[in-house]
Symmetry: D2
Subunit: 324 residues, 4 copies
């Protein structure tokens, strides 16, 4: 199987893949195949597996290998696949990373361990990780303060990037984070090495982030084709069309961005769209109530109406071009 | 001046008022008057002052009294005014509450002190607060786990409500919080005392919250007339029209809902709309960059376009009815 | 190999075992044997492996099984061995628990997942865990708010104990925690099922905890024989002798109780005492500086002097009896 | 009244003063006088008022001024008095600081606001505070991550010290914190400006901190004369005598260092020692149970016995010299 190596030139949408389970909680490898195909069909430019929203920390070591092997098989080298390797222990992190690269991954994504509290600790941590991985493993640094409790300023991030050339991508997920993004891009104007910056938060601020210089989105929103369309519109310089398309989905983006329950909402939409067989999350994980299902049904119907109604309008003229 | 007393029947929009400062950080009493009038003109059903988004903890004891006195003067008893009285010390909390009630406030709002960690601690705290305030002070219990780090389940809240009849309103601001809202309303179906429930988060989930039984919004979004219109649409049973109107503003709602910087964005829009003279927040508080201003300009222009364009559509037929 | 089953009658000292690594970070099975023998020689009444201070979350699934197998071999059923099974995913938790019980463990210890925020969530979590484990796996509920951020009141704990009879032991590690301990014991006076309560915090408050009704200590302090002596003194009603002995070691207890670095200090003393070959912790973990080594040397010398000097005094008359 | 100005040469014990209340919670100015005299009699080298353990955030603006005025009157310029000025709002902070300096304070102590998350934010904050205070107000920077959630590395602290010459003292209260202290002192060896460093944590690690170069203690332990004795012993080069004396009180130091309840324990001992009329803390604050009182009684009796018994020993020969 041909593999791709992640570089700092990566752009577009890297979908954070869910991990599908059967209703009894066991790993669903058939849905793994259909879900991977779903992302490919949506036109994403890359895939991220075994991330936080992939419930990676609920898999056994063996399950993680089987899942990543199946995804890489289906992808067949057509797009780069990044493997989430964050782990409380560096040896485990390195072992999974090397296994993943050997299996054809394009790079690995690592978030800071939650015990880091200061800039020097963050700097030491990523230096140690890069050293332990070896220089041939491209790294995505994941920054998600709301979930991890680790806060890294743009200045310490810049230092970490400068010292570790194998970090080629930055997963931006601070909240608020727009000015952090601008500071990082401004630093590149002044000579810092350019990284690929993809943004998260379920896409909640994607238009503003693209306007600030993000290269795309790295998130698992249940309509990845919208993310693709928005990024394409910005890439061709038609920001308003991108934002028009985005706004149609924003009510659902915002709904899915709720912490905790958001993953269950996302998996349920993936199920309704036929991408996976069951929307279940592994215990302990969120479950949807009947009213949660009703909310989703209503929000999905409104999106369909908006897509249909606005088809006659200038708004969707842009959107249609975008999604073509 | 005639005053109103807050009851559990309160509905609609209670605007969380900003506290206006001059560029040098001093209290701006002239803008206090114009801002209060701005809220009245927007048709809000109540006002909340000295809340977290009112930078209350940056005021001196004396400034707090002067500010609340001026607001109450302008309101002149036309709508109920709730005074945020949360304080690390109960004596200070009681003193401000009694001063506020004497000046014509309709009730006070109290959030749990941040040291509370367990259900019994929360229960004891609110029992002690009610006892210290005396039964004649109507209380709004503020629940805001993301900001306060205090997590109260629906079950302990139900117990607190049952034991303290002077709690007439619940400020709902958990995230995710829709099912918590449903559980509280379901409990009322089964015999629990009914409270007014108003929701926060900048209005981010307002349509879904209204569908779950919220009585309205308590938030400071910079277009309070939109909140009024949405609540009115839901009140007359036209949920889709309410959500149509909401969606036009959602990009800005989501933008303003960013923690920290959100307050500076809100005050800047209030300034642009002529409600206050300066958008400054007191130090240490967020400041806007030039790019932050550009984001706002773009988002505001898009709302104007949407309001104009969609005026020909069924969508805005509802919205126009709503805002009429 | 004969195995023991953990019951609510357990008393004394259950040592939290370190996990020994070679200097290169690999699992050290030879030191696993010597360390287990060290604890047996110290007279402990039970052993706890794969706990937080055992760096369990840095082991691979396979390493965890090899380590627990070796410990159980050495123990040979002479004392009960509890296996830490806490895991973000319940399936992994159950798999390890069942493997451990099959290998001869006496029970498993489970801490709440760190996402739990309210009493009902805690209650649901442990009900689900007990259900998933099946009724034949004796459970130790670990309460460690400072490290986990999960706060369970005595009242919700009492409810969890009442609803899940297989919970036979409570690992008490709240801080402050003395009154919580008293409330739990008082509830038993009033009819609640009695549990074994062992206390942690490195033993920092052991005398006061024993006076409040604790059955012993569950901690990994590097002189387990002191913990054994103190518990024995209290058990025979000679609290003052117990506290005299405790106070000799208190400077080191307090020093080792420092978060983070405490584990490295503990492992270094175990190394100096010949129990393990290397004091290294797995990355990312604390490392000692030259000054840290000097502090330890000084504190250990002072303990030796106190043990020698006070041998002539009434103080140590008690201590000698205790350690005999 | 003559006043002292705080300098970087300050050494010894700066007692964190409690704020005495009557049983009804009102400010007790008579006990304010007796407590201040108690600290003076214990031989402390400075006093800190309106700190976190002084319940400053539960006082009204007016009470804070009355309390500090009374303390400064009693002290009469004999020792430097530092006023805690931390506040969510900088204007309030500056107003209290200037009032305090005008009334005869030697300097003010400021902790970072709890919203700070990164090194640049901390740096900006203290630059702004120093600028707002003006260069004539000597500043103590308080570092207390466990309570505040703000983590500042030694490197950013060094930068803050370098940029703000009016910061003359560092209140060290990180946990673990010994290596942070060493790094700061090592930086001075290499040319950084020397600051006075006093340590907190209730004195829990005082001997090790003095060995690492601390200039003394800034804490409110209820036997300040012990802290004075220990610092004196270290100052004259007799570390073992200092540690001998310390160890006699360590069981109580450790007991009082419990978070939350520690303040109630401290005030109760101050009450038993006749320094204040009531041990009450303002609501919401900790209260002692009957068993808490028994623990204290027992621990105090043991200290008395140790002081008496060890009077015949070499151990206390040092202690007696120290306390003379």
């Amino acid at each position: 199987m041909p593999s791709q190596i992640l570089t700092a030139n990566a752009r577009g949408v890297f979908a954070i893949s869910a991990t599908p389970f059967l209703d009894d909680g066991s790993l669903d490898l058939a849905s793994t195949e259909s879900l991977t195909q779903f992302y490919l069909d949506a036109g994403v430019h890359g895939l991220v597996i075994l991330g936080m929203m992939g419930e990676a920390n609920k898999l056994s070591d063996d399950e993680a290998r089987r899942f990543l092997g199946r995804v890489l098989d289906v992808v067949g080298g057509r797009i780069p696949v990044i493997v989430g390797a964050s782990n409380p222990g560096t040896l485990n992190l390195v072992q999974l990373s090397h296994d993943a690269m050997a299996a054809g991954a394009a790079g690995v994504m690592v978030a800071p361990v939650t015990s880091l509290r200061t800039d020097p600790q963050a700097r030491d941590y990523f230096a140690a990780i890069c050293n332990a991985l070896g220089p041939d493993v491209p790294l995505v640094l994941q920054d998600f303060p709301l979930a991890l409790g680790v806060h890294m300023s743009a200045s310490i991030l810049g230092q970490i990037f400068a010292e570790n050339p194998q970090i080629v991508m930055f997963k931006h997920e601070d909240w608020p984070g727009l000015n952090k993004l601008s500071i990082l891009r401004d630093a590149e104007e002044k000579g810092a090495r350019r990284l690929s910056i993809l943004t998260g938060m379920g896409g909640l601020h994607l238009p503003q982030e693209l306007a600030r210089g993000a290269d795309g989105a790295m998130t698992g929103f249940c309509f990845p084709e919208m993310l693709v369309g928005v990024c394409a519109a910005y890439a061709r310089g038609d920001a308003e069309a991108g934002e028009d398309l985005f706004d149609i989905y924003l009510p659902l983006v915002r709904h899915e961005a709720q912490p905790g329950i958001g993953l269950a909402l996302r998996k349920e939409v993936l199920r309704r769209r036929g991408a996976i067989a069951s929307g279940v999350t592994r215990h302990p994980g969120p479950k949807l109530t009947a009213r949660d299902h009703e909310d989703l049904t209503s929000l999905l119907a409104r999106i369909e109406r908006r897509l249909a109604t606005d088809g006659k309008n200038a708004i969707v003229a842009g959107a249609e071009r975008t999604m073509a």
